[in-house]
């Protein structure tokens, strides 16, 4: 699971009002190279919840992102590359995503989060 996906995921358990961001429990992180696409990064920047990305990135072992960011930073190649790395190249292979409200763990195995709810959570 990439942090791009993590930034989009929210706990949808019945009754939960703030299910984002999910906390990350790390067991195994893998880095995989991804082709750089500035257009995509610029498009994504507008959607990203920045502090959630920074926090998640640190949990995954990468602390090179600034604590806050604004769109003017997108002109900086260095910033773009750090953003790219955090967003697309860090993979949670094994671990869990934790609902911030209920503590419920959604397992991540072989890089795949399982977000299916049990019947009583629906």
């Amino acid at each position: 699971m990439r942090l791009l996906t993590h930034n989009m995921l929210s706990s949808n358990i019945k009754g939960v009002t703030s299910g984002f961001p999910l906390r990350i429990e790390v067991e195994k992180v893998v880095q995989k190279e991804v082709e750089f696409n500035a257009d995509f990064l610029r498009n994504m920047f507008a959607k990203i919840e920045w502090s959630a990305l920074v926090e998640a990135s640190k949990t995954m072992g990468y602390s090179e992102l600034p604590d806050s960011a604004e769109s003017s930073m997108l002109d900086s190649d260095e910033f773009l590359h750090r953003f790219h790395h955090a967003l697309l190249e860090l993979h949670l292979e094994e671990g869990a995503l934790i609902c911030p409200e209920t503590g419920r763990k959604f397992p991540v195995n072989k890089g795949i989060p399982n977000m299916l709810l049990h019947e009583d959570e629906v």
Binding site: M1, R2, L4, T5, M8, L9, S10, S11, N12, K14, F20, N37, D39, F40, L41, R42, N43, M44, K47, K110, G111, I112, P113, N114, M115, L116, L117, E119, V122
Partner: protein
């Protein structure tokens, strides 16, 4: 005040039911006239529904919306009895006269419990969709490689750098199809998702009826041959709402579903229409309708638990053109003409079946059958095929999205929506 003084109004039954009929001329008219004028069959149906509303499909509950006022009255009536007030005479009744309080089925509490039930997976989908795809995943994936031009065209038309969400991505056929865009796929089948992940796609296991995505994040979403596996109109509607919710304002949604109107009509003959004999499979939370939702009326709700053969003849008026899919005395063609609920077979060759191992269990438990002639294990997949205009009707009532294109292509009905707010 004795029981008999209250007239025949108190048909106290076991369980949380309530009196609904009155034999005494002195009792007030307790219910609105449509209620009182119904046939006995329907009345007992209503009592049963009051007893255990959860055993009825969402459609049945929705169909009762015309008489929600009656239910409310019923509930209030029972509550009044609970308080010991006899509404016919104004004097108190003894505690033994208390009637149990109905489980509330009112419009007020409706939407809340309806939405949570919509997301619970009905048995028919567990058995004939989820279970089947998990069992056939590798074989299924090996046959799913041809890219449908219409979908390809849609994906390639999206701006560079778009984030595209594929809900019900299956084996990931369309993930990454536009190299300038980024795709995130999800499917309810872990087996299929594993296949996607092996190809390097960004995927997760999730339910299309309840996407775990923040609102408005995606630039576009697609649902290719997914909605026809959802067994109730409410679930299909919810899935469309989810597809719209997860894209940004101005974002596009492409939906394709199998058409009842197949180009190759002989194909339909290989499908098993869900008729009376499969009804037992359906009874349970969220059982699907047999006929298309547009023909639902109070009169058409079938008696599922008793006297079903008697009731069948009363249902004739419910379907279009007077055909009744439940009436097996009609011709096969007559059944198929308006039929939309089918089991579509999947032949899993024996050598493939042995790999998963799950097939032996499936055959043993009756989920699948062996076809020695074809050397395959045969699984049935549940489909609600869409009739012409049905997909449009499904989406046109929705707030916040408009249809920007609709077409029929290769035996599929398709729409493209744009999120407006």
């Amino acid at each position: 005040m004795t029981k008999s003084d209250l007239g025949g109004a108190h048909v106290i039954q076991n369980g949380p039911t309530c009196a609904y009929g009155s034999k005494s001329p002195h009792s007030p008219v307790l219910f609105s006239s449509p209620f009182r004028s119904e046939a006995a069959g329907r009345r007992s149906l209503l009592v049963r529904s009051l007893k255990s509303p959860r055993t009825f499909a969402i459609e049945e509950i929705q169909a009762f919306s015309a008489t929600i006022a009656s239910f409310k009255f019923l509930r209030d009536f029972c509550n009044m009895k609970e308080d010991g007030i006899d509404i016919s005479s104004g004097s108190s009744v003894t505690p033994e006269e208390k009637l149990p309080v109905l489980p509330p089925i009112t419009a007020k509490s409706g939407p809340v419990c309806l939405s949570s039930k919509v997301q619970a997976t009905p048995e028919i989908e567990k058995k004939y969709v989820h279970h089947v795809y998990d069992a056939i995943a590798p074989h299924f994936s090996s046959t799913r490689f041809a890219k449908w031009p219409k979908v390809q065209g849609f994906l390639n038309s999206l701006p560079t750098g778009s984030l595209i969400l594929d809900a019900g991505c299956g084996n990931g056929k369309y993930l990454g199809l536009n190299p300038n865009c980024y795709f995130v796929g999800c499917d309810i089948s872990s087996a299929l998702i594993s296949i996607c992940a092996d190809k390097g796609h960004e995927v997760l296991v999730a339910d299309a009826v309840n996407l775990p995505y923040r609102t408005g994040y995606g630039d576009a979403s697609i649902s290719i041959a997914v909605l026809h596996h959802l067994s109730t109109e409410s679930r299909r509607k919810k899935a469309v709402e989810e597809l719209i919710r997860v894209v940004k304002t101005g974002g596009l949604v492409l939906i394709t579903v199998w058409a009842r109107e197949q180009e190759d009509k002989s194909l339909v003959n290989k499908w098993t229409p869900l008729t009376q004999k499969y009804l037992e499979e359906w009874i349970g939370p969220g059982s699907p309708r047999i006929r298309s939702p547009s023909s639902i009326s109070l009169e058409s709700i079938p008696e599922m638990e008793e006297n079903s053969s008697e009731e069948q003849s009363k249902e004739g008026s419910a379907t279009r053109n007077g055909d009744d899919p439940l009436d097996e005395s009609r011709s096969e063609e007559g059944i198929r003409k308006n039929q939309q609920e089918y089991f579509v077979p999947w032949h899993l060759p024996y050598h493939r079946a042995e790999i998963s191992g799950a097939s032996a269990d499936a055959v043993a438990s009756g989920f699948a059958r062996k076809d020695d002639k074809k050397g395959a294990v045969v699984y049935d997949r549940y489909y609600h095929v869409f009739s012409e205009g049905e997909l449009e009707r499904l989406v046109s009532g929705m707030d916040g999205a408009v249809i920007v294109d609709k077409f029929y292509d290769k035996s599929n009905w398709c729409v493209i929506l744009e999120k407006t707010s």
